[in-house]
């Protein structure tokens, strides 16, 4: 075998695959996306003597069909990524379901290295796995590991170092005669499509559909109908039943359960008596959400403020007054500051998400929240990202990664920008303080509520428009609880934060510099004045906002600056009107109560900030980011106009 070896790492979710992957690759890690889709791809290289191993972490899956993105990625890589071998990580305490995936991969005709992970959990639950018997049956080494503790890794490396001596598995499921005949016929007639028994079976039960090949489809339809008639059942059920029967027969010989099973497994049940209890589950969930929100924002924000202040101080240290100084201050430094200011929130959030995921609580949270979220057209797991949106949209949108289904990810990410983030609050407070002194709280509450309503409507409309037939099931495993690894959580948080800085950073920096250019050119004009480019744009665009009641160029410029971050709207007004006191006075004159209300609605709804766009683009793609911009601008504008015009008709102006 060549000096470069590619090893795919496959396994069920919650099988400890990530820990094993981390233990294998150490810190030599590359995080990116799978081509064409925004599903995280992790790759690590390790050099041992003469040979370089490249480990590719496949998405955690239960099966391999073309019907879910994660499974499709895994299947495609196993089919055409030509890995030299596949490590199949299995949760020892959940032998049947995990071994089923192993069976599928084995049927692909690939070299497999089965790893029975979390063997300590299995032992605790009274389950003994006889790897010697498994090895004897399949003619390949079966390994036991406890990846979270690094146990069994040397054994795995020994197999990897001698990978050329590992053969193909010698035992496989046998299906009913008509199915076997159909498999043979497909493999003979379509060797390019039915590359292996797995592929032939997948084509047969239509979990793999090869579009455009009518000859093949015709043969599949014919064979399928014949088999279903002969065996009096549906093909997908028949095949799955046989596969599981195969798994049972292996389990019967190689898995031993002791009497103590029930007592030990009860720890999880006992916790769940409270956590997913019909009456206690909801309140406990809300408590957990409150704690998370508190930690991410109340603990994170002082650090963010510190970073902000640090960059402010740094900027003040730059001497001189010219264009260059201004570029360094308002372009570079505030640009980099605008990126780094999100780091504390993002880091804490992903640390907590990793802890919740690892401990097993995340899926329980989705279980508790699903009924309500599903009624709103979203998924139980959408709750956390939506909630985080009240703090800051950036980490919120990054959190859509916890959703398995792409449609849910897209819809949630598209809805989040309408959740009123904390950066919008200073604008609300400023205007409510001036124009609604007696009903400040009601106005602010109304804006938050309006945001939620718009978010739900946007999600529903987009579901109707783009994902009509989309079903995103809540067929979700509730894994046994276990103590989360803080080291892994830190690692996950570091990776995600780094990903944000690298992937969204340039976009944010570019936008800050672009706004700086607009505010500073032509050379010599006062920063962001009426004579600057941005001032001209403001004056030019301002009439558009006339129907909404705020047609001044200052308001438009403030909104443009608001792209950078919503709270900048306040600062911009301050700068344009020359100080806090003058601003209050000027605002009271240039806005009426009604136009203030429409301006607030506009502020709530239009593009949250450039960083949000950057992260939507990163998480779900440029076209969705563009659509989000279009929807938020048009909705914000229309609502502002409606508020102003209807108010006017009612004589509120």
């Amino acid at each position: 075998m060549s000096r470069n070896v590619t090893i795919a790492v496959a396994g069920n979710p919650n099988s400890g695959k990530t820990s094993l992957f981390n233990k294998l690759t150490g810190s030599n890690l590359k995080v990116g996306n799978w081509p064409g889709v925004t599903v995280e791809k992790k790759e690590g290289t390790v050099t041992r003597g003469e040979r370089t191993f490249t480990f590719v972490d496949l998405p955690g899956t239960y099966g391999l069909s073309a019907r879910s993105i994660d499974e499709r990625i895994a299947m495609d890589f196993l089919t055409s990524g030509s890995p030299d071998a596949v490590i199949v990580v299995m949760d020892s305490a959940n032998f049947n379901r995990n071994f089923y995936l192993f069976t599928l991969i084995m049927e692909m005709g690939l070299k497999v290295i089965p790893v029975l992970n979390m063997s300590d959990m299995a032992t605790k639950r009274g389950i003994t796995l006889h790897t010697d018997r498994l090895s004897a049956i399949f003619g390949i080494p079966f390994l036991k590991t406890i990846a979270s503790k690094g146990k069994g890794m040397s054994g795995l490396w020994r197999v990897l170092d001698n990978i050329e001596n590992v053969g193909l598995p010698t035992h496989r499921p046998v299906y009913q005669a008509p199915i076997e005949t159909a498999v043979a016929r497909l493999m003979e007639a379509f060797p390019n499509e039915a590359k292996s028994r797995f592929h032939a079976l997948a084509i047969l039960d239509q979990s793999l559909v090869i579009p455009g090949n009518e000859e093949l489809q015709g043969m599949v339809a014919e064979l399928g109908a014949e088999i279903e008639e002969q065996l009096d059942g549906e093909l997908d059920e028949l095949i799955a039943e046989k596969r599981y029967a195969f798994v049972y027969s292996i389990a019967k010989e190689c898995v031993q359960r002791k009497l103590s099973t029930e007592q030990k497994a009860a720890v999880t049940d006992r916790i769940d008596r409270f956590v997913t209890n019909r009456y206690l589950g909801g309140p406990l969930f809300l408590l957990a959400m409150w704690v998370m929100f508190f930690l991410v924002f109340k603990v994170g924000n002082p650090f963010a403020d510190l970073i902000d202040a640090g960059f402010g101080a740094l900027s003040a240290m730059i001497p001189g007054h010219g264009l260059v100084t201004s570029f360094i201050q308002n372009g570079l430094i505030s640009g980099v500051g605008a990126i780094l200011v999100f780091v504390p929130n993002i880091f804490i959030l992903f640390f907590l998400i990793a802890v919740m995921e690892d401990s097993g609580y995340l899926s329980r949270a989705a279980f508790v929240a699903d009924r309500v979220m599903h009624a709103l057209g979203l998924h139980g797991k959408s709750f956390i990202p939506m909630l985080l949106g009240f703090g800051c949209n950036i980490p919120a949108i990054m959190a859509v990664r916890t959703l398995e289904n792409r449609k849910d990810r897209v819809l949630t990410a598209m809805a989040i920008p309408y959740m009123s983030c904390s950066a919008r609050l200073p604008v609300y407070l400023l205007f409510a303080g001036i124009f609604f002194p007696r009903s400040e709280a009601t106005v602010v509450f109304g804006l938050y509520l309006l945001g939620i309503i718009i978010a739900v409507i946007v999600a529903r409309v987009l579901r109707r428009a783009f994902f009509t037939k989309a079903v995103s099931p809540l067929v979700m495993e509730l894994p046994a609880y276990h103590v989360p690894s803080l080291k892994m959580a830190t690692r996950s948080a570091t990776l995600r934060t780094g990903f944000f800085i690298r992937k969204a950073g340039t976009f944010i920096l570019g936008a800050v510099i672009a706004v700086w250019l607009l505010a500073s050119l032509p050379a010599g004009v006062p920063y962001a004045s009426a004579q600057s480019l941005i001032g001209h744009i403001g004056s030019f665009v301002a009439p558009v906002f006339h129907p909404a009641g705020f047609g001044s160029w200052q308001a438009t410029v403030a909104l443009i600056f608001g792209f950078l971050a919503k709270e900048v709207v306040v600062g911009t007004f301050g700068a344009l009107y020359g100080g806090q006191a003058a601003m209050t006075h000027a605002l009271a004159h240039s806005f009426t109560t009604l136009s203030a209300a429409s301006f607030l609605v506009m502020t709530l709804v239009y593009i949250p900030c450039v960083a949000t766009i950057a992260i939507i683009r990163r998480e779900i793609g440029s076209r969705w980011a563009a659509l989000s911009v279009a929807i938020s601008l048009s909705t914000g504008y229309l609502l502002a106009v409606v508020v102003f015009q209807v108010g006017h008709l009612l004589g509120l102006g």
Binding site: G63, K252, L259, T276, R371, V471, E477
Partner: protein, 234 residues
């Protein structure tokens, strides 16, 4: 002493229970056969003496290699007879099952082979476009033509119901899966397959989603997903 059930019954039951539960206790066997635990224990002693089972006091009951072979053989006979009664003769599920339990012990190899032969014959005729089975069904539906009118009509088992209508903490056997293809695929991959046993363990705050136990782990299902799973009380 006389056993209330034959040795074969015991072997078969241990085999089936071990498939279902993974591990068999004497109390499981007693419950399943409807006898008292002491009778089970004395029966197991006899089976142990004949090297058919491994069994220690208060321990798990497992089949020896020889016992396993015998058990599989009995169960194979049971299935063939049951299928013949149920699908060819159109006998009700319960009666077919009960009769098969009795006949499996004394059916001759020749009769069994003839039954299997008959299945093969039907499949062969069907491949030629002659569906004898459905003609037979149609013949029975016309009722009056049945000589003596003594054959019970084939009907769907009455207790089949969607899992969404199931009660908590009751064991159900999965009969059939329906629903959208992607969801069905996912269910099959996760081990929700016909013949498997499920139990609703818990529910979400508003009655749904469900928390079910299958293959020894916990899975959640929304109401519409649970509706697509047809079950029968086990």
């Amino acid at each position: 002493m006389v056993l209330s059930h034959t040795a074969e019954d015991y072997l078969e039951q241990i085999y089936l229970l071990s498939l279902r539960l993974g591990m068999v206790k004497t109390s499981d066997i007693a419950r399943e056969l409807g006898v008292r635990t002491p009778s089970v224990i004395s029966a197991l002693k006899l089976l142990k003496n004949r090297n058919l089972v491994h069994y220690e006091r208060y321990g798990a009951v497992t089949l020896s290699e020889k016992g396993l072979e015998r058990a599989r053989d009995v169960y194979e006979r049971h299935k063939t007879i049951y299928r013949f009664l149920r699908f060819i003769l159109g006998i009700d599920d319960e009666i077919a099952s009960e009769d098969a339990c009795g006949m499996e012990h004394f059916v001759s190899p020749k009769t069994l082979a003839a039954m299997k032969d008959f299945f093969a014959f039907l499949a062969w005729k069907k491949s030629q476009g002659l569906d004898i089975q459905s003609e037979l069904r149609a013949f029975r539906k016309r009722g009056s033509h049945i000589p003596g009118g003594s054959i019970t009509m084939t009907s769907e088992s009455p207790e089949a119901q969607p899992l969404s209508a199931g009660k908590d903490n009751v064991l159900y056997t999965i009969v059939k899966l329906g629903g959208e293809r992607g969801v069905k695929r996912r269910l099959l991959d996760m081990g929700v397959i016909p013949g498997e046993t499920v139990k609703i363990q818990n529910r979400g705050p508003l009655g749904f989603p469900l928390e079910i136990v299958i293959q020894g782990y916990v899975l959640t299902l929304r109401k519409d997903e649970a509706e697509a799973v047809t079950v029968r009380e086990a």
